[in-house]
Symmetry: C2
Subunit: 585 residues, 2 copies
Amino acid sequence: MDRLAKCPANYVPLTPLTFIKRASMVYSNRTSVICDGVRFNWRQTYDRCCRLAYSLRSLNIVKNDVVSVLAPNVPALYEMHFAVPMAGAVLNAMNTRLDAKNIATILIHSEAKIFFVDYEYVPIASEALRLLVARLERTSNSTEYAMPLVIVIDDINKPTGVRLGKLEYEQLIRHGNPRYPGEDLEDEWDAIALNYTSGTTSDPKGVVYSHRGAFLSTMSLIQGWEMGTEPVYLWSLPMFHCNGWTFTWGVAARGGTNVCIRNTTAGNMYKSISNHKVTHMCCAPVVFNILLEAKPHERREITTTVNILTGGAPPPSALLEKMEDLGFHIMHAYGLTEATGPALVCEWQSKWNHLPRDQQARLKARQGVSILTLADVDVKNKDTMESVPHDGTTMGEIVLRGSSIMKGYLKDENETAKAFQKGWFFTGDVGVIHPDGYLEIKDRSKDVIISGGENISSVELESVLFKHPAVLEAAVVAMPHPRWGESPCAFVVLKNTVSTSESKIMAYCQKHMPKFMVPKKVEFVKELPKTGTGKVLKVELRKLAKTLRISENTNNKRSEKEVDQTRYHQDEDHHQEKVMAMSRL
Amino acid sequence: MDRLAKCPANYVPLTPLTFIKRASMVYSNRTSVICDGVRFNWRQTYDRCCRLAYSLRSLNIVKNDVVSVLAPNVPALYEMHFAVPMAGAVLNAMNTRLDAKNIATILIHSEAKIFFVDYEYVPIASEALRLLVARLERTSNSTEYAMPLVIVIDDINKPTGVRLGKLEYEQLIRHGNPRYPGEDLEDEWDAIALNYTSGTTSDPKGVVYSHRGAFLSTMSLIQGWEMGTEPVYLWSLPMFHCNGWTFTWGVAARGGTNVCIRNTTAGNMYKSISNHKVTHMCCAPVVFNILLEAKPHERREITTTVNILTGGAPPPSALLEKMEDLGFHIMHAYGLTEATGPALVCEWQSKWNHLPRDQQARLKARQGVSILTLADVDVKNKDTMESVPHDGTTMGEIVLRGSSIMKGYLKDENETAKAFQKGWFFTGDVGVIHPDGYLEIKDRSKDVIISGGENISSVELESVLFKHPAVLEAAVVAMPHPRWGESPCAFVVLKNTVSTSESKIMAYCQKHMPKFMVPKKVEFVKELPKTGTGKVLKVELRKLAKTLRISENTNNKRSEKEVDQTRYHQDEDHHQEKVMAMSRL
């Protein structure tokens, strides 16, 4: 058995690049990319990728070089998902909500050789490059990193002429060789992408994906979401989020159509859905609100089922129901940048069809079951490394193992070693396993509130608050408590039309949760501090909570009007600086 | 990038064993296996696999040992697909239609350490063991191979007490350890299965699969067939056929239900479909006839869509239409044992829904597009290695490349080297690529008829004959021709109710194909010589054709009654000896 050797016919490195070559052969005439008036088929998209890859080589890009891009969901960014690795290089798709300082930091850290900039982002990119020059001047050691070559991506529909440096993306396409087959991939462990993440607290970390991991994760997600033939995929999720949760590659694997939109506005989304008969889209639950709150002139009727894969935060049941009423079919996924996107999907069971809708929504809000390319998912006591019982209540840290987990953090041995311990990747998320084997996240491990020795899941508490008719948004963090050590403090954004009071909310909580979980303080705010991707910045709320006084069960009548908005707004600038690519999906 | 090392958290060998462990966690209470009165859920099936794997180790099975099984589609054979590799061993599921001599040959060639025998197969297994003893005695070198340990698999529903040796399957389950986690898989390139194939001409060859190949092929086929959640899979395809075209592992991956039947009778199939609401089944087109010709008392109404994946031979359009009328939804696949089952699937395109049904059937009969884990499929001129144009007419040999191709042939360096040439696996099948990128097989390369320098596809000619209202079955082979070198000779089985003549068939052919393709001889036979798996033994027909006289356009009035059945029947015993596991699906 052991004497049968690997050969080029039976051992080919796994890579998502297979998908585009195959698409050019078997789906050649099908529409690959639509962006306003521009349309390509798969033969053309492959042709453009070959040309771009060839041009990158001509620009001295070699294996393991980083190519950074700052662009919204335009065809160029899609093409780079194939062309950059075809040239042997590593794609770094940047979060477009980064500030100039963070962009500069990432360019230096990744040692990007080329920096593609969408024309709309030329101002912030220029600022970032100025900061970069200044920093390079400060650090005398100039051999370490040279300035990247800057290439603008002009509007593909209506070229604007905006430039930063001499080159424009379409020049690279024009001068490329459509018959360039790409570099041979020697090892599927080679890097394909670099995605920066910071979560909400720490410094940016560069998550490196291998070709193998990207291939496997893509395969799993097509399968886990049951994306059938001829999908029409709307790019409502930024491609810079874990490479569009792998669907940049996945749509090519299915020979589907990518509908690119520059901005995730209600108008753009409804128009695309209606014009192109969109079948699939991914987004964070925050996008549900955009769709639900669309103005009448922006709306279109949804005539066919639109499948949504959502993640980043558990979707509140009320939102789920409203979305499904509109004709959207929602699947919930859980993942992290480090897991190459979704690692769990909440696979629907037909027996749940007969349950009341609120119960269905509750089941759907769970994170679910592991995708097929993960070797193992478990919830463990971090100290003893014992698995929690499948009882739906015992909490532990969610740990993952498998070939779709990142290679590690670029140039960060410490953080890499911290993430990989005892044979597992530690997610930093706290969850339970239900008797049916479905996993549910209770909190980020750092967001768990420990009150008098009891673990309180802030997520669980928030989900109760969400059901209160006056509550639009809610976030719960720990605040210091003289008796219990910590106690929950709820920050609540109220709906415009409904009024309530702190004591009413507290009374409501007392009715719907164990006493020890009831917030000892409810603070009304106009909005919650969030990252650019819509994640609540709990680190900011915790700072705020430290400055508040415990209310307990006082009959505090302070209404939402009395909320101290000033304090919150003072902190806002500071938040903005911390806004980075999210770590959770 | 290169400094980020593999570790147990981010690099786990790919293996289908992941699927059963996962199923036991996330689908624990769902029904895994049904066999008449016996039912297991996934926790139980995993428990039984762990026990069996433990018992195999107790019986001194170690890494790379071969465990052979001769059994129909019973739960034991299903469980062995996981338990045997969990013990580090290699599963050899034997074709139950083999004769004693072939069984003995395989036991010796594979050096099987354990030989599991279903109670129904005890007589033939005993005979095989007698032959084995005799052969071992003849070859003095007794150190090379010792007799395998024989273990009977009794009927799980109604134990019969039939034994061959001391052990019975359920004893191994009982005495096993349900907490045995299985051996650590060190390398995904390690062997998982050994499937013997002979095609229709040559000696048996032992095709070895790796864990990696089995995993990837399983992933691709779930995806290519779009097998959704909670499938109910009917085992109409023998599990010994490329491990059930990988669905032994695939059903576990989907947490589906395996409906096991001992015999593929119309009654068994209809009953299972109706009782268990079967959603998926695989079979050769020959099974369509069984379903279509069911007696009224065997039939059940098909109330939900039953998806069929078919392969082995292109399904005739007429059969396809009739099957779809009954409520079956058919997808056509093409593969080989060497490709770990299906390598191409005929992915349906929605625009074809508007075509006339015969045209739909014609499109569906094509072999289609590559599965996602194949790196490359092409049709090439074997001499120049140039790809054929996508014109639907230029023929070439179908070649494959990818990680789901076999490791090679066990102990057969010559055949392995012949199969893997110039970086490709040569299928020995001749095909074309259509302008839409879909591949269609025209023939086995050895079945192509070369007449006056023209290549004639026997398959193409057969498909024309099939459309003749009097024709039930047809097979075309080359016969020697004094002028053209070779010319086509058609063997035809007529329907009982219709009569025709050789000249009428020839006249029909002249109307429906180019003149050079028209058979120079039409021979009526009562049945076609076939392998145990329903493949026409063309090698036998070629022998027969050599003895026939060319008719050309003579007005030969000999009716089907005059067919020389004797000659055919004389050869039958000889055929039976050659019947082996098929090479094509």
